[in-house]
Amino acid sequence: MALLQISEPGMSTAPHQHRLAVGIDLGTTNSLVATVRSGLSMVLDDEAGHSLLPSVVRYHAGGDVEVGYAAQSAQNLDPHNTIVSVKRFMGRGIADIEDIASLPYRFVDAPGMVQLKTAAGVKSPVEVSAEILKVLRQRAEAAMGGELVGAVITVPAYFDDAQRQATKDAAQLAGLNVLRLLNEPTAAAIAYGLDNASEGVYAVYDLGGGTFDISILKLAKGVFEVLATNGDSALGGDDFDQRVFCWMLEQGRFAPLSAGDARLLLTKARDAKEALTEHTEVRVTAVLSTGEMMDATLTQSAFNTMTASLVSKTLAPTRKALRDAGLAVDEVKGVVMVGGSTRMPCIRQAVADFFRQTPLTNLDPDKVVALGAAMQADVLAGNRAGDDWLLLDVIPLSLGLETMGGLTEKVIPRNTTIPTARAQDFTTFKDGQTAMSVHVLQGERELASDCRSLARFELRGIPPMVAGAARIRVTFQVDADGLLSVSAREQSSGVEASVQVKPSYGLGDEDITRMLKDAFTHAKDDMYARALNEQIVDAQGLIAATRAAMAEDGALLDAAETAAIEVGIAALEKLMAGPDVEPNHHLAIKRGIEALNAATTEFAQRRMDQNVRRAMAGQKLETFG
């Protein structure tokens, strides 16, 4: 029996102001923004009525930037400066990009992440992605008539830590407050699960433009628990285009192609693939800038043959995910199809054969991720009460450390529910060793060199001891965004040294600051006013939340503790009202916020303890009910 809810005495029951929040699907091929209005999730269109924004960014000399359809139509004319499918480069080095030779870009090999040389200067994939996000932010703010409190940005479930960090950095650069990074299949499951009020085990098969994810979820009593996830972060519709492109080269027997002609043929290849969704054959014609021509017919069965190995590449991760979840095919109640590439008949057939059931396709596979993300953003912004759901997601790939001999020691296995923390003890190899190099890895392989290197750092100041006597505890913490932080501490002697690391593929805070400055110079935006405004809004929110908490649970504090918090509030209020001294006043307010946060930590802990006691008391009553 479900228990009825009665509010705390003194707790406000008045509905609070609706907070503007959006869900953004930052896709390889297309991106979308959606929001919840009057309880309904809807995709926001641009002025021309387009809901999809092609994930294409064109840089002009002088710094002007075009995003979307305008950029897309220029991609054959200006291939070097028109960046398509930038998502494939997020958090990736040059060595990671398989088909680099066939891409028209001027790559720069930078430490950590590859960069692109454009007419407007060298750009990181993070900056390119930020341009796409900025357009979506502006679209949302124009449609909703106000500033956003935050956004949920979706990422492929199989994205590793470097790719996630890069995505979060891009959002920050676009001026978005990231409420959460959400896995795309999980977002789709929200959109589907709540529409159909389903319970049971579901599979989400998500084939996008450049990534493939499979997630196995259990839905029970409003909780979406991801049991296992797998995939391939370099497999998608683009690869199907590439197969058709190769077929066109065989048909046309062209001389070596210019970048513009290569782009033209790739565009034709995509058109042919899309046409084959509706038709059993398609005529493919092209005239190159050299005057060379091709005119041939591609049948659906020839297409199926040339792409069969790609289709089966999606089934191996699907089997693995089911095995990790400890489930058989017949235990899966439904299969949700996500991503434009699942429109291909060969994919639908393969999925139907594998799961022995017709997959669910009633929601638009291009929109379902954004719709789910918007619903989650609405929950996280605090716009719903009582009837919301909970997502319990997992990390897709194991996290570990390199040990002696170049081997990987797993610290957190894949498919562990987040947030999670795990500590492991290591020791020294040599007598008198005073430093230790910590190499953080992600992946399933035994050799460290076969896994992705996330970060390296050194722990110094270990007291000299005989080999094996020191106890170095390395702690991994993965937060609810799936992002990792690592710290190390020497414990045997009581001497402590610890270090926090950010993965090397993510950008440092200084990089972000520099990029923000660059961005604002171009936008002619007043960076200082914006920063000050942000801090004031944050401070107001914090003071209001603290006052509300004290009104509700003031009994948990003694007089001295109450006074200390009041002092923190008063200090912050004074700062907000105080003289506006450029250029650092926003930093002073930020410090005031941090101080008040520190002063309320113990209070927050006691409030949580109380919440837990109440929840578990309700649980016991329910058991007997």
């Binding site: 907070r19 009593k221 912004a381 605090g382 609810a480 603290t546 008040l596 309320t600 929840a615 649980q619």
Partner: protein
């Protein structure tokens, strides 16, 4: 957070090896519903941090109790016994013989067996796993024979490794 509280107390369950899985799942859902960071995304940073610590702890507790080996190790640890102590490798000879036979069977399938043969082997291993779990419940909950329980936990861990190896062979056969 009360660090003296056991994982069983956290979920309001008796500290036994035999587990009411439905009750554990319900208590886990209830707790995560209360403490998960998603419930505090619009709250001040201090509350978000506390939520992450709590959610991390609740996940850790749930994984420990849910997993047959981890639950055994944890219960024995509450008795002051380190079941996985590297210096304690005592194992019944009959079990070791059986291990070797299973390992040979896995190698045979790997060398040229069928998925059907692997399915049969997998069923055998899982049945053995369940038998040891039942023994563990009797040893810990009824007989309170903790040294014997430690050995059963180690056996169970062996079984997990074998089952994982079978998973690898499935992958090899499928690719």
């Amino acid at each position: 957070m009360d660090f003296t509280q056991t994982h069983f107390e956290l979920f309001g369950l008796p500290a036994t090896y035999a587990l009411d899985r439905a009750k554990l799942d319900a208590a886990y859902r209830e707790l995560q519903n209360t403490v998960h960071p998603d419930r505090f995304a619009a709250q001040p940073e201090a509350e978000q941090r506390v939520a992450m610590q709590w959610a991390t702890q609740v996940n850790e507790a749930y994984q420990t109790l849910k997993h047959p080996v981890n639950r055994g190790v944890y219960l024995l640890k509450l008795q002051g016994i380190d079941a996985l102590d590297a210096s304690n490798t005592k194992m019944a000879p009959a079990f070791l013989m059986q291990q070797m036979e299973w390992r040979e069977a896995i190698d045979e399938v790997r060398a040229g067996g069928s998925v059907g043969a692997l399915d049969a082997l997998s069923d055998d291993l899982r049945a053995a796993h369940r038998r040891i779990e039942a023994q563990l419940a009797a040893l810990i909950d009824t007989a309170h024979d903790f040294p014997a329980a430690s050995e059963a936990v180690r056996q169970l861990r062996f079984m997990d490794k074998l089952i994982a190896e079978v998973g690898d062979v499935y992958e090899e056969l499928e690719s």
